[in-house]
Symmetry: C2
Subunit: 338 residues, 2 copies
Amino acid sequence: MDLVPRPLALTLGDPAGIGPDITLLAFQARLGETVPAFVLLGDPEVLAERSRLLGLSLKIEPVGDAREAIAAFGRALPVLPIAVPERVVAGQADSRAAPAVLGSIEQAVALTQSGATAAVVTNPISKASLYRAGFTFPGHTEFLAHLAGREPSDAVMMLAAGPLKVVPVTIHLPLKDVFGALSGALIVKTICITAQGLRRYFGIERPRIAVSGLNPHAGEGGSMGSEEIEMIAPAIAAAKAQGLDVTGPYPADTLFHAEARKTYDVAIAMYHDQGLIPFKTLAFNEGVNVTLGLPFIRTSPDHGTAFDIAGTGRANPRSLIEALRLAEKMHRNAEAQS
Amino acid sequence: MDLVPRPLALTLGDPAGIGPDITLLAFQARLGETVPAFVLLGDPEVLAERSRLLGLSLKIEPVGDAREAIAAFGRALPVLPIAVPERVVAGQADSRAAPAVLGSIEQAVALTQSGATAAVVTNPISKASLYRAGFTFPGHTEFLAHLAGREPSDAVMMLAAGPLKVVPVTIHLPLKDVFGALSGALIVKTICITAQGLRRYFGIERPRIAVSGLNPHAGEGGSMGSEEIEMIAPAIAAAKAQGLDVTGPYPADTLFHAEARKTYDVAIAMYHDQGLIPFKTLAFNEGVNVTLGLPFIRTSPDHGTAFDIAGTGRANPRSLIEALRLAEKMHRNAEAQS
């Protein structure tokens, strides 16, 4: 068990997006509901200015050490300072913030790996802004895998909302590139990392894993595509041979109605929209993006920077609050096992 | 207005599937809820035997003319006889039934085009069984287009459940064949047929049409696929130039949550699972498959033959009942306009 309580490390995300807004609103929400203590890694001035812009009167407290955040959290939003050199204007993407954005992620990983913080929770970043500043990773997840010294395919993205958990095997690719990216080995690896993650962080000893097909009607016996027969069914067999409770391939369109969802703990989808469409249809505001397979816990709200509503007061902190709660729950589950 | 009431023409579907079961159960349900009068085109003996197997005591009444069904419907299930030459065993696919299965569809179309019946409602067929008997159409919809003397692309499949309506531009193809099948012209044609159908049969004068992208995040400005920029956005512009209320391309994963669904009357998806996943996630039992673009009304339950539960009493007639009701409503809307 965790004898010394540790805060969650929350990254800044893009300072011109809604990250500061939802961070402030999640902090404020701790008065009415349970929000685990976190420390923001970012510019205190950005938070203070956004707080004024939103008409909130929240106290921002710079701290020198992450652990101070636990004591501070009752009275003020604790921030480990990382300065953004230029003035941030809500809604206006600015690549000059990139070093602070990336520094925040790097520090969250370092603090969590050192044990000073319990988990990494990330605010949304703007890939376009980071690319302009020379960032070369496809996204957050791959960057986190790199920081952990792992392969990109070691990091598995899972969407979670209460009992609903969905893992797409391939993610941010043009749809036509899915066919080259998908392989039996990648499906097996994704299934295994998912099973380990559910066991370690969700306390599900023997997760029931349902795997979708790729084609309409899961190929209907080969008449509408052969990937199910040639790749997905053998991958399922290989994962079963490792002792896992894996079934499929199922037609994706009949895998997500209420009755079907009772039959599994996690659904494995073959590509982004196949998993994200049902997930966001069912859990639009409260979904959490979880990264499994890394040597630390990472969660994130499952929405983007939403530049268009940054600073307007219209941002909804629900997904971030759920991401904070889930990170803390995953941490407790892992501690209980170690 | 329809001065002489006409029944709906209900096809037999595969006699070894659940078509007979749900036909009997839909007929029985007329006592407790509104089920419009229909005439089944099929073998009375198949119905009578399935009725005994299910422990129902329903009267089957052969009729000589479709219009007799209106008067008969109160006392018995009216059937225009088309004999299946071999004995039908529930759950056992048998290609020898193919001529009766296809004859039933042909007669339903002929009766509806002649004005003897109000609309075509089809029970599920087994494509595999029909293929073995030499059937060469990809499915029901293409066969109906052929019977109407139309091009396959004239027949547009729409899934409907209450206010939720979804139209996939491409349907029963391996996912990797979507890229070759999709074109700007096909998207525009599908949008136009959908708009005409919603106006004529659903009484929506100026339908709000939301079009999804093809790639994750609708391509995110070209960084995850170019079809949105090169094909879908121009198709939307072309449809708008015809005076239609069309918007998009939208990321498919944020198009189907409750708030988003309030903003449109119909969503156009680019491929089968993109439209069918959210539809069946939200409306698993009560969905109706509607064919637009043909010179007659056609609806169908949106499930298959379910050979595994034929004759067991476990088949759910809900989707067929909704298909019958929607066909009758579409008929009334069209009559009101003519």
